[in-house]
């Protein structure tokens, strides 16, 4: 189908962009990479009267791997993150998750900010910001404010972003010390939306016990979920097949998957448990092998 009629504005500064949003409010939609928005327009599922195109606004696409953080501008392309030198060694989970975002052609245009604001409950970026203490910077008429990822992502396709605000950047805290991470997904075809996705980070203490474990899941609720009960059950234990299996028993109460044409609730629960086990095992194995161990 063809999109319904709309007005198109291409601001060249963030102030211009904010002015356009202020003027048009709910009638406006922001165009970043267009990989989610344009299909919605083409199906006429969304009918904004105004598109505000951010692609000419400078300064929104920074990408920086620091000692302790990964800083990603809202307009950074998925592909740029995928190709960021040193990222896989520093935190494999991020690289493995980004590689699973659609196909290369989609990643060439799609942006990290676009994914976060779109808030699909199966989006890999939602898992990453929730797992890695993501801090999002929002810029509005009264200046900028910071918000934690868990507060930002509310439910299906809904965030705490106000209609007159823009997401400008997100900062992830990368694991420190002896750590390993992993991201696994079950999907029907290469590049598809995840039926279930799991990200795991394991940081080991002096005696090889889990000092900090993170488990995040997508596709099993209305937003990305930290399986804190699983994390608690594993804390202080050495990560073995048995302790991991034991901890994963706590998973079922943490997730509330739905059913759709691809998978039932019960299948999603089964797969969530399987992938969580596998992701934790691999993250622990990588932690045990970790060559990079920064100061805690």
């Amino acid at each position: 189908m063809k999109p319904p009629p709309f007005e198109y504005i291409a601001p060249e500064s963030i102030e211009e962009a904010l002015a356009a949003l202020r003027e048009h409010g709910d009638e406006a939609k922001v165009l970043a990479g267009g990989q989610s928005l344009m299909p919605l327009l083409a199906f006429r599922l969304l009918r904004p009267s105004v598109l505000v195109d951010l692609n000419r606004v400078p300064g929104l696409d920074e990408l920086r791997l620091d000692k302790e953080t990964l800083v990603v501008g809202a307009m950074a392309r998925q592909r740029a993150v995928e190709m960021l030198v040193g990222l896989r060694e520093r935190c494999a989970m991020v690289s493995e998750a980004v590689e699973l975002v659609g196909h290369v052609a989609i990643r060439n245009r799609g942006t990290v900010g676009g994914s976060l604001v779109h808030a699909d409950p199966a989006a890999e970026w939602a898992a990453l910001v929730v797992a890695l203490d993501g801090e999002l910077e929002l810029f509005g008429p009264s200046g900028s404010r910071k918000m934690a990822a868990a507060e930002f992502l509310i439910t299906y396709f809904t965030t705490a972003l106000a209609p007159d605000e823009l997401l400008t950047r997100v900062q992830l805290s990368l694991p420190n010390g002896r750590s390993g991470s992993c991201f696994l997904e079950l999907c029907r075809r290469h590049g598809d939306f995840a039926i279930v996705g799991v990200g795991a980070v394991v940081t080991l203490g002096a005696n090889g016990e889990v000092a900090d474990g993170r488990v995040v899941l997508i596709g099993i609720a209305e937003r990305a979920v930290r399986a804190t009960a699983v994390e608690k059950a594993l804390a202080g234990e050495r990560p073995t097949e048995q302790t991991i299996a034991q901890a994963v028993r706590e998973l079922d109460g943490e997730i509330s998957p739905g059913s759709d044409i691809h998978a039932s609730e019960s299948y999603r629960r089964q797969v969530a448990a399987v992938l969580t086990r596998r992701a934790l095992a691999r993250a622990a194995e990588r932690a045990q092998k970790a060559e990079y161990a920064s100061e805690a």
Binding site: P5, L186, R188, R189, F193, H262, Y267, Q270, V271
Partner: protein, 764 residues
Amino acid sequence: MARRWVGQPLRRREDDRLLRGRGRFIGDVAIPGELHVVFVRSPYAHARIVAIDESRALALKGVVAVVTHKDVPDSPLPPFLWDTPPEKLVAALKPFLRPCHPPLLPPDRARYVGQALVAVVAENRYVAEDAAELVVVEYEPLEPLATVEAALAGDAPMVHDGWEDNIAVRFTVRKGDAKDALANAAVVVAERFSIQRQAGIPIEMRGAVADPDEDGSLTLWCSTQNAHPLRRAMSRVSGLAPERIRVIAPDVGGGFGIKGVLYPEDLLVGLIALRLGRPVKWLEDRLEHMQSAVHAREQVHELELGLSAEGEIVALRDFIRVDTGAYNPLGLVIPYNTIAHLMGPYRVPAFEAVAEGVITTKAPTAPYRGAGRPEAVFAFERALELGAHRLNLDSLEVRLRNLVRPEEMPFDTGILYRDGEPLVLDGGDYPELLRRAADRIGWDSGVRLADGRRVGRGIAMYVEGTGIGPYEGAHVSLTADGRVLVRTGACSQGQGHATVLAQICADAMGVGPDDVDIIGGDTEGLERGWGTVASRSVVVAGSAVSEAAVTVKQQLLKLASGLLEIASADLTVEDGQVRAVGTARALTLAEIVAEAGRRGVVLEATRYHEPPTVTWSSGAHTARVAVDEETGVVEVLDYAVVHDCGRVVNPLVVEGQVIGGVAQGLAGALYEEVLYDEDGQLLNGTLVDYLVPTAEEVPTIRLDHLETPSPLNPLGLRGVGEGGAIAPPAVIANAVQDALPPGAGVVRRTPLSPPYVRELIGRQ
């Protein structure tokens, strides 16, 4: 003279143009002043059309017309290809068959979601879509019948007026007394198998452009597989003589049978253009395509296979229900194809099959690559595998025991083919196909991969009736520059006709294939044609091309003989020249053409080849799969095909055909399923949710072939377009079953989605 070009792996002539983006597809046909058509389509599976108010749509700037059922004839679409079964078949079967064609625009009811109800004509597609939203249709929703069960329930409404039930076709095919034979079998496998509804998914969707001329004639470009039949239909519907209509199938990006059907939209585009006196274009989008282009394959088999203690087939009974959708324009084609291919390459002494085509409020179904054969092979090969297992025999051995052997050919199966002729297997070495396919895959089972996944192997065999009549035409002539021009009724959607038919013509005439130009899919210059469906074009069009070319060659030699004053017998045609053997005396074809012109001698011929019946291709496919027990995910590790399509004209093209077919077969085995809910709403109308496999999902397919020339045409050709798609669902099902742990459930349906496989494992 010795054959030179048939058999050569020539690279396709079409490819340079296509790869450079110089193809001319329906979307590239642009006529100045053309208008765009968008259809208002039913949002209900079943609803009475109470009223249509087009006033707001007409008022929108840029809208030129809104066409409703009041503006067009309300009779059903005219016959197209196969609707009327041959007399011999009708006499033998006495089938129950109700004609059931859609109208151009239904005046009374919508019968499936996506059925076209109103046509909006505007300056461009954007405005036309805006206007389509402004057309107000008042509906009275009726009870949807989204399944065969719902359609056959006692209190179900009739989808078509005047019917006492929702059954469009029913017939029985019998040989011997199957019931009796089953009673005496050592083992009877009785199972219910179901094959899911699928969509053909050509990458290019449907479209048509109609350009009316001031003199009242019409040119209709259409992304169709059957140019001449479409012209006939357009003539019937418009009242214009066929001679005043030219149908052109331009480059077509895939058809697979989906474009081998007569669609109301294509005819409406022509009618609207004639009515308005302006060119009119329709290009559908994927959502329209998923809703309203034909679907395929939805069948349930209740099958009984009887085996002796030694694993010999004793009898086969099958009751088949086909979900035919809201209309049944192809009569008994699909159910009969299924029945005709059930016995496959095997000896089945007693046979009874009953087929029923049931009307439901979903998109109509029609032939899609394989056209009823994949369903037959799935049901039979699954049953055979289960039977071998029950008898504790190696299923490979059981197959070998039952295969028709080369020395038994020609083998009369005792039933008829759907052309009304006896179904006689006419050549091939089925045991050899099986042995080679098994060798290729390594016949060890019960292996586990390092990552813990279980490995299984599967096999299936098929035969395929190809090259069906009634005829195909070719007109061969020489142009002033000494090149050969061939016009044929065959239409290419990627089968490589411009190369393959040129190779056949080259051999027949003694020229090079680069000297031959093939024009297919254009009604101009060839009076009659049938089109490209059912794996028929290389056989039937190829034979017609060859016959016409041979005739023109005789004409050339006769004229050259007179000019050179040498007997024809001492002349040859080679490399674009007529040469006197043993001398340097020669004339170029261009010179002869010029001379023919001066003398008024004809150097052209039209031939229609009418095959006596179908000729039989065959194949064995094998696969090894890995199954993740915890998630049910299946990976195809290895896939091999050993097939026999008779004399191979171009091995590269054949390879492409087989691999493409296997990819679509694997799609049906593992991924694709058209899903409707109980209200007849299409749940997966986009490629996000209708899972067409990508290159990442298709494994490397290993090919081998035998060549058993067909006895039914001089070149020994058998068809190859569909073969690849016939066996994969059976092969993968057999392989997955082999991989599953003991005590797991029986694989009875496709697709083998991870949740389904997991469920089978969970049944331990």
